[in-house]
């Protein structure tokens, strides 16, 4: 199962962008797991939000992706990366807001 947009925080209560970042870089779970020295199954649990990583693992992931930890993990739902970078609302959402007003 591909989890690119995490809709619920899972059991951990954390949202994350691991699946997106992994897909962007074209690496498999196994490759990421090898780099993090964890089981690839653990990467799946992380992506689904079913496991809350240790600070060490979270920092290792941040270091691996070259991003701050808060760009990868959040207690709030994470917006799409493109939206966060370019600061534009998705077209559908903007259109809905206009019709509502």
């Amino acid at each position: 199962m591909n989890i690119i947009h995490q809709k619920s925080p899972g059991e951990s209560g954390l949202y994350n962008r691991i699946a997106v970042l992994r897909a962007e870089r074209g690496i498999s779970r196994q490759q990421l797991a090898d780099a993090m020295d964890v089981n690839y199954q653990t990467i799946g649990f992380l992506e689904r939000g079913d496991y809350s990583p240790s600070l060490k693992l979270a920092l290792s992931l941040a270091e691996y992706f070259g991003l701050p930890v808060e760009a990868i993990f959040s207690k709030q739902p994470l917006p799409p990366l493109s939206q966060q970078v370019y600061g534009k609302q998705p077209i559908q959402a903007s259109a809905q807001e206009e019709t509502m007003s």
């Binding site: 074209g26 196994q30 089981n39 653990t42």
Partner: protein, 196 residues
């Protein structure tokens, strides 16, 4: 050693369904042993704890130790996924591991932080259950004492065996029962596409 990479009669232990069947077979296999023990205690021996029961109990403890006797150090079944190649469940019985496999086994025994956390959590759950079971066994023992004093001595070993069984096998049983299906390695084609 049986890991999640192993197969059981052609079914991968990475599937929760297979692991649950293993658990059912394990506990189901002990029912005749316990049945024989109780039967001997209450209907046959009547005077002394039977040697057959003791032998069965010893065999059962051996069975526990080799199969579900612990999450890491003891027992053959390793519930967490390893990165070793798929092997048949019966291979360790007949083939000595090659020298190169010792490294693989060491790798197999190593657990990451989620697996360690899961193991510790399950041990806590198992302790909570075992605590209750111990209470019930003790109550059962006392009630037997009120009923018939001589049964205290006879039932002691059997109840002690039940306690041993619970303490040794419950954590492993719970992990095998609750761990979800292990997903197949995902998106290997992504890396390939990137290389091309």
């Amino acid at each position: 050693m049986i890991s999640a990479d192993s197969t059981l009669f052609g079914h991968s232990l990475a599937r929760r369904r297979t692991r649950r069947w293993l658990v059912v077979a394990f506990w189901g296999g002990l029912v005749p042993v316990l049945g024989m023990g109780f039967h001997e205690l209450f209907f046959i021996a009547r005077g002394s704890f039977g040697l057959n029961t003791l032998n069965f109990a010893l065999l059962a403890i051996f069975w526990i130790t080799i199969l579900l006797g612990g999450v890491r150090a003891g027992g053959w079944v390793k519930p967490f996924r390893s990165q070793t190649k798929v092997r048949n469940i019966l291979q360790p019985l007949f083939a000595k591991p090659k020298p190169t496999q010792s490294e693989l086994i060491a790798q197999e025994l190593a657990m990451d932080e989620r697996e360690s956390f899961q193991r510790d959590h399950i041990h806590f759950v198992a302790y909570s259950i075992a605590r209750t079971i111990t209470l019930f066994l003790f109550a059962f023992y006392c009630i037997l004492g009120f009923w018939k004093q001589e049964l205290l001595r006879q039932t002691g070993p059997l109840l002690f065996f039940l306690l041993t069984l619970t303490l040794w096998s419950l954590p492993q049983t719970l992990i095998l029962w609750t761990e979800p299906d292990l997903e197949p390695e995902a998106e290997p084609e992504i890396a390939k596409e990137k290389q091309t």
